[in-house]
């Protein structure tokens, strides 16, 4: 039951689909493979944590990887059931499905591999692999705009990850300069902490943070995110937003775990700067946007900003940050899938045209409402608690100006999102539609995500709590 099974199962399934074994029932294969991986992941995580090192030390399962395995795989399973349901109800989608399935399975395999990888460059390669496998998925048949969005996504991803590779090279040179034998093994690097830091090291670390910031949708180079999330099919957008975002985040966590102790000032300073700038930009754009998927995209940039600030501040914020990351992943999954369902019915993504949701699509209306409320950080959900802890750390570390900016930005986002979304839910329905009543099973994945969100908000099960503590400590560099 070693972690390698998590990688092999999706790979084998994708090979099977690629070789044409289950071409028609590709969606079923997708659901089956993801189900098996999820159960494997849960079994793996709940089992005794063996520190097995396989493939010449390239695989290492620690708290962070266990936490994210438990988060990423269920979300992928939820999305795949959504895809399976969509394919079953609308036959037109069948022809491109097999390509999507094997690419998605490779995507899942590379993500799981990334979570358990122990070598920084291996992390880089796998992250690059996930980006490459997702790019073709973004392209919708016969749609020029989505192809353009895919190109742009690929362009930014290669530039961002190029910077990361550059950063790793500099870090390597930094270690050489300091007389250590340059190594990229995460566990050996963890032991060598605090690494001596010189000009090379600082340059490398800054480049890595900038590159990963681009991948997460943070400040300087983020403009690929709204267009990609807007043009990509909702299921793929959910994959991007919930799964790939967390993969990039894990790489960022690894880097922070290693290098925070050696140069805390640089890490905090850059993350805070990038976080705040991206929050400002996303708030401004949310106020102006009229497109539901772009709204969610800007909201996820906002969340990335909050995560960057939380990571930058450190201290007691790290626990809150993890809570926020977890609930954020589930929120985005719910919102993208709901947006998908709404767009499938209304055929448009203009927020002014869609209205009267609570009457016409009751399930989607309720999910959109609950998702937005969770997005804005209201109590019963995990994001409220996470935000609160980040705020308390901000105040605790004496950064009052950042705290004030943080609060005003969050309130402005709240006002702007509420102003656009609530009329969609409760507004008068523009013209009469008679759509089939939404059945419960179709809403099952989103319902489970919702339940997890509420649990995260009120009563965090002790097992998860211990895991979160461990990850928080590791992020603190202890």
């Amino acid at each position: 039951m070693s972690p390698s099974d998590l990688i092999l199962v999706p790979l084998l399934a994708s090979l099977a689909v690629l070789l044409g074994a289950g071409r028609e029932r590709a969606a079923v294969v997708l659901v089956g493979a993801s189900f098996i991986t999820t159960t494997l992941a849960i079994v793996e995580v709940s089992g005794v944590p063996p520190q097995t090192a396989v493939f010449a030390g390239l695989v290492r399962v620690d708290a962070t990887s266990r936490l994210f395995l438990v988060v990423v795989n269920p979300i992928f399973f939820g999305i795949s059931t959504y895809i399976w349901h969509r394919v079953r109800t609308t036959p037109a989608l069948r022809e491109g499905i097999s390509r999507l399935v094997w690419l998605a399975l490779v995507f899942l395999a590379s993500t799981n591999a990334l979570l358990v990888a122990n070598h920084l460059l291996a992390l880089w390669v796998l992250l690059e692999l996930t980006a490459l496998t997702v790019t073709p998925l973004i392209v919708r048949p016969r749609s020029e705009a989505s192809r353009r969005a895919a190109f742009r996504y690929l362009l930014f991803s290669t530039v961002g990850l190029g910077l990361v590779a550059l950063g790793f090279a500099c870090l390597g040179r930094g270690m050489e300069g300091a007389g250590l034998t340059p190594t990229f093994m995460v566990d050996r690097l963890l032991e060598l902490r605090p690494l001596p830091i010189n000009a090379w090291g600082k340059l490398g670390l800054a480049l890595v943070l900038l590159g990963l910031g681009t991948k997460l949708g943070l400040a300087p180079m983020y403009s690929w995110l709204p267009e990609t999330y807007d043009e990509a099919p909702p299921a793929v957008a959910a994959l991007l937003g919930a799964v790939q975002f967390n993969a990039a985040l894990v790489v960022l966590f690894r880097v922070v775990q290693i290098y925070r102790v050696s140069s805390p000032g640089l890490v905090t300073g850059q993350l805070l700067a990038m976080g705040l700038v991206s929050m400002v930009v996303s708030t401004v754009s949310i106020i102006a946007t009229r497109n539901i998927k772009r709204l969610i995209a800007y909201a996820s940039i906002n969340h990335a900003g909050v995560i960057a600030i939380g990571l930058g501040v450190g201290g007691s914020a790290t626990y809150g940050l993890l809570l926020y990351v977890l609930s954020n992943a589930f929120i985005k999954a719910i919102l993208f899938l709901t947006a998908g369902k709404i767009m499938a019915h209304y055929k448009t993504n203009d927020t002014r045209v869609i209205s009267g949701l609570i009457k016409e699509l009751p399930y989607s209306g309720v999910f959109l409402m609950v998702g937005t409320i969770a997005l804005l950080g209201f109590p019963p959900f995990g994001s409220f608690l996470g935000e609160l802890l980040i705020l308390s750390a901000l105040v605790g570390s004496g950064r009052m100006l950042t705290f004030a900016a943080f609060c005003t930005l969050i309130t402005m986002t709240f006002v702007a999102t509420g102003r656009t979304v609530f009329p969609m839910i409760w507004g008068p329905s523009k013209e009469k539609h008679d759509w089939p009543r939404q059945t419960l099973p179709s809403a099952l994945p989103k319902l489970t995500f919702l339940v997890v969100l509420v649990v995260l908000g009120i009563y965090i099960p002790p097992a998860l709590n211990v895991l979160l503590q461990q990850v928080a400590q590791s992020l603190e560099g202890r």
């Binding site: 989608l93 073709p136 895919a150």
Partner: protein
């Protein structure tokens, strides 16, 4: 210094054929520099590296791009960076900054410092190209120049610690990226603005 020349010159080229030619020169030159730096041929790693530099970056990418552009009978005129005084001065400034930076990074003078400065200049110039291109083809050229800059950067410093797996992985990634770029570029319609987007009538996932 030859290397520097190769990095900077293609900037002033006005035709896309010229820029592709510049790209392949870059690839080959970096391969020559890599061979010169550590010539021991027995290690497979160096073979892989050389193969990547020569085959993929030097010949493969430019050729495929050339074939694509010819099939599109694209107008010859294509500027890497806008031919006005401002962008040239900015380019020059960036090169100077790169030299300054490398003087701090590598205190002792010599071959290593020259290599680092050229690599830094290459990366900054690649970003300048990206910042001034709005057509897909131009952006691909910019991205490839950035890849070359990074490859040059990795040559610096005496290192041979990378395990084989990651090197293979990097090679696969570079090849896949270039392939994807080409696949996407083929899909784009001709010059001119894009057909008005049909309102989402296509049932998407």
């Amino acid at each position: 210094m030859g290397l520097l020349g190769v990095m900077v010159v293609p900037l002033f080229v006005a035709t896309w054929r010229g820029s592709l030619f510049g790209l392949s020169c870059q690839g080959l030159l970096i391969a020559w520099a890599a061979y010169r730096l550590n010539p021991d041929v027995h290690v497979i790693g160096t073979w892989l590296n050389l193969a990547d530099l020569v085959l993929v970056r030097g010949i493969g990418a430019p050729l495929l791009l050339y074939r694509l552009m010819r099939s599109r009978n694209h107008t010859a005129r294509h500027d890497i960076i806008p031919p006005n005084l401002l962008s040239w001065t900015v380019a020059l400034g960036l090169v100077l900054a790169a030299f300054n930076l490398s003087s701090v990074l590598v205190p002792i003078d010599g071959d290593q410092r020259a290599l680092t400065s050229v690599a830094a200049a290459a990366v900054l110039l690649a970003f300048l190209v990206l910042a001034s291109q709005s057509t897909p083809f131009g952006q691909v050229v910019g991205a490839l120049r950035l890849e070359n800059g990074i490859a040059l950067f990795e040559l610096g410093g005496e290192h041979d610690h990378q395990s084989l797996v990651t090197q293979v992985g990097q090679l696969v990634i570079v090849v896949a990226t270039i392939g994807l770029y080409l696949w996407l570029l083929e899909g784009f319609s001709e010059r001119g603005n894009f057909p008005p987007e049909p309102t989402q009538d296509e049932p998407t996932l």
